[in-house]
């Protein structure tokens, strides 16, 4: 186990009204060749209900580990994770969030509708009801007429939309997105970001998006949390002051550029000493 950094002021600085998700002094790492490699060190931040937060950092900075911990897949070495003010263990968090990864992870033997309904079925909803729920949402995700198709018959963008539908349909209060559009080409990616904004806007959910694309992080989120390289700490928090609904044209606005400059500076992209 790694050494736990005792959070000295974070605990007292927690807001009186509990935020939806509070992460306090989170430290995690893994063992390799008998050595403990720290991935996250004393990470502290919180996310409000209905807030859209982007987490950005250099690759290998432990962003995926962070989401795995929030989802309940991994137990951190130390630190607290509170949901609605309640301390939670990893196993208690399983089933609380809807997780979407870079790989669409569609089950090849299930049709589009069956894949989309997966989380509902796991949640105990009868198959028929779950599939009917998925069916009526196909239009909304640009999948009209593809309900009975198998994943291998779809394009990359469509597969990712099925994964997005599965994630949204799960009906969880927290949505975790781990570079969901990382494997897509630039044009499909932009379209998918628009889809995401529209769908999340419709349903007002709390979202944490992990990305290494600065523009994506700003364009989509209310707040961008910048992590340092491994082991990751919070380097900077950028509150995004752009009205919603967001439009592509905003990307060229002065305010957007200012945010972009701030985030890139926090990532150390402007320092001359970079190799």
């Amino acid at each position: 186990m790694g050494e736990c950094v005792q959070p000295f002021e974070s605990r007292s600085s927690l807001p009186v009204v509990p935020r939806f998700l509070q992460i306090d002094g989170l430290t995690a790492g893994y063992e390799e060749n008998g050595q403990h490699l720290p991935v996250l060190v004393d990470l502290t931040f919180s996310v409000g209900e209905g807030e859209f937060v982007s987490v950005i950092g250099p690759s290998g900075s432990g962003k995926s580990t962070l989401l795995d911990i929030i989802a309940g897949l991994i137990e951190p070495d130390c630190g607290e994770l509170l949901i609605g003010g309640q301390r939670t263990g990893a196993s208690e968090r399983l089933g609380i969030s809807a997780y979407m990864k870079q790989r669409d992870l569609l089950l090849p033997w299930r049709t589009v509708v069956e894949n989309a309904a997966l989380a509902l079925e796991v949640g105990g909803m009868p198959r028929r009801t779950a599939r009917a729920e998925a069916m009526v949402r196909l239009d909304e995700f640009g999948l009209t007429g593809f309900g009975a198709h198998y994943p291998a018959q779809l394009s990359g963008g469509m597969r990712q939309r099925v994964a997005l539908l599965r994630t949204m349909l799960a009906g969880r209060s927290l949505i975790l997105l781990d570079e969901p559009f990382g494997a897509l080409d630039a044009i499909t990616r932009a379209t998918m970001q628009d889809w995401l904004l529209k769908r999340v806007g419709d349903h007002a959910r709390t979202v944490i998006l992990v990305t290494h694309d600065v523009e994506e992080a700003i364009f989509i989120a209310d707040r961008v949390i910048v992590l340092t390289g491994r082991p990751a700490r919070v380097a900077h928090t950028e509150v995004i002051d752009l009205p919603r609904p967001r439009t592509r044209a905003m990307v060229t606005e002065g305010r957007f550029v200012a945010h972009k400059t701030a985030v890139m500076t926090a990532l150390g992209l402007f320092s001359e000493s970079r190799p």
């Binding site: 795995d68 989802a71 309940g72 897949l73 399983l94 089933g95 609380i96 969030s97 809807a98 997780y99 990864k101 790989r103 992870l105 089950l107 090849p108 033997w109 299930r110 997966l118 989380a119 079925e121 796991v122 949640g123 198998y150 291998a152 018959q153 779809l154 394009s155 990359g156 799960a170």
Partner: protein
């Protein structure tokens, strides 16, 4: 991640599909013709090598006898194979669920394949007599191994990230097994079953050879003793047809059970 909306050129496909049947058929016809001519020109005695026409005659004249014995062998194969399929699949699931069990029994399962059936079959005869049971056991034993190994590998190679996704949805072990592991291991199970059903036929015939009152193996044994070589060949033809039919049956079941695969390979 393999999209395949792009269908290949259809003319080449049509031709190769036809050639798939045409070439082996031509080869068989050519082979049989050479055989027939050779035997007639050389005047080879029947008991040494019967002509294909003699074998066909035996198939037609003795059809009732052959049918009765084929039915016995078929029963042995089906029972043995079914037993191998059920125990094999269950054992594979148990091995996958428990690493301890796997470490304890996997070497034994592999070792069981080193036991010569030649040594075991006479013992089974002593223990269980001349009836159906010892043949079913031999058949089951030979068919069991490929099924366990391929199914276990299939369960093991289930995509880890998908399993984690299901876990994040709150799916317990049984749900993950049912919704992800089983369907992703099915293609492997069917591969094992296809090998298993082919060797099951050999197993049944071997069991009958050692000691039986009926079955194609038994019929071959007594026919060769009486120099009825044409009937021996008739039995071989029937065994081959039996193996092909069972192999085809498993393949057909596979295409029925795994529609997502067939639809992608051949489908529109």
């Amino acid at each position: 991640m393999t999209g395949n909306l792009d269908g290949g050129s259809t003319r080449a496909d049509d031709w190769s599909e036809r050639a798939q049947w045409l070439l082996p058929a031509l080869l068989i016809v050519a082979g049989l013709s050479v055989w027939e001519i050779w035997v007639r020109v050389d005047n080879t005695p029947d008991w040494l090598l019967p002509a294909p026409s003699d074998i066909a005659a035996s198939l037609i004249n003795d059809w009732q006898l052959l049918l009765r014995h084929t039915w016995v062998t078929l029963q042995e194969v089906l029972l043995g194979f079914a037993a191998a399929l059920i125990t094999g699949a269950l054992l594979a699931a148990a091995l996958d669920a428990s690493p301890v069990l796997k470490r304890a029994t996997y070497p034994l399962i592999v070792a069981s394949q080193a036991i010569p059936i030649v040594a075991l079959a006479p013992l089974l005869l002593v223990w269980f007599g001349y009836g159906l049971l010892p043949k079913v056991i031999v058949t089951g034993l030979v068919a069991f191994f490929p099924i366990v190994v391929t199914t276990y590998d299939g369960l093991r190679s289930t995509d880890r990230e998908t399993l984690e996704l299901l876990r994040s949805m709150g799916a317990g072990r049984w749900t993950r097994f049912r919704l992800v592991k089983v369907p992703s291991a099915l293609p492997s199970l069917f591969s094992g079953a296809r090998i298993g059903v082919s060797v099951a036929v050999i197993g049944a015939v071997f069991g009958e050879y050692v000691g039986a009152k009926a079955g194609l193996g038994y019929l071959m044994n007594i026919s060769s003793g009486r120099l009825l070589t044409d009937r021996v060949f008739a039995c071989i033809v029937l065994l081959a047809l039996l193996a092909i039919a069972l192999f085809g049956l498993v393949s057909w079941l596979e295409s029925r059970c795994l529609p997502w695969r067939t639809r992608l390979v051949g489908g529109r």
